[in-house]
Amino acid sequence: EAGVAQSPRYKIIEKRQSVAFWCNPISGHATLYWYQQILGQGPKLLIQFQNNGVVDDSQLPKDRFSAERLKGVDSTLKIQPAKLEDSAVYLCASSLVGDGYTFGSGTRLTVV
């Protein structure tokens, strides 16, 4: 079974620039999550999709972050404009409803 794919693995941008991350979940997994993991902390949920609908985006900074999941499969997370405090690892995970999560390897974003 193929895992959760994320790209890119690393990204360095200047503050105020924009950036996008991509996630391809495990085939058949209806639920997709984006987490932000700041160095030294546990992952924090940014947004959760059920198929192509948003279930929870209460912790997503909507003034600069956006996410979409077209056709209920792949998802993209965008930051525009980026701030220094957005430097973190962005993890994508997917699951069947009510089952455990499978995580991707994440994208490490550095904002300089």
Binding site: Q41, G42, P43, A93, G100, F103
Partner: protein, 112 residues
């Protein structure tokens, strides 16, 4: 809301010895799951062990076992016969109704 607390930022164990990582959680729900995830430098979150709250029996996966104390809301992870490959960040997580919350993590070092 769920909260998860890991009070040990760092732990160290000698190869082949046993180590216990602590975790406490708080939830108002009666139906929930608890997880331990391992995160090596590759950043991928790997499921170590899972416990359903309604089960009294402690979960076991090979060298990994938990001590689940529901009344005390405690969920510790015991690693027996520690191996060099066990060195990683370990995150405790609480899951209910499609909402997973993580602790801040414990960095485990294994000494040869």
């Amino acid at each position: 809301a769920q909260t998860v607390t890991q009070s040990q930022p760092e732990m160290s164990v000698q190869e082949a010895e046993t180590v216990t990582l602590s975790c406490t959680y708080d939830t108002s729900e009666s139906d929930y799951y608890l997880f331990w995830y391992k995160q090596p430098p590759s950043r991928q979150m790997i499921l170590v062990i899972r416990q359903e709250a309604y089960k009294q029996q402690n979960a076991t996966e090979n060298r990994f076992s938990v001590n689940f104390q529901k009344a005390a809301k405690s969920f510790s992870l015991k690693i027996s016969d520690s191996q060099l490959g066990d060195a990683a960040m370990y995150f405790c997580a609480s899951y209910n109704n499609n909402d997973m919350r993580f602790g801040a993590g414990t960095r485990l070092t294994v000494k040869p």
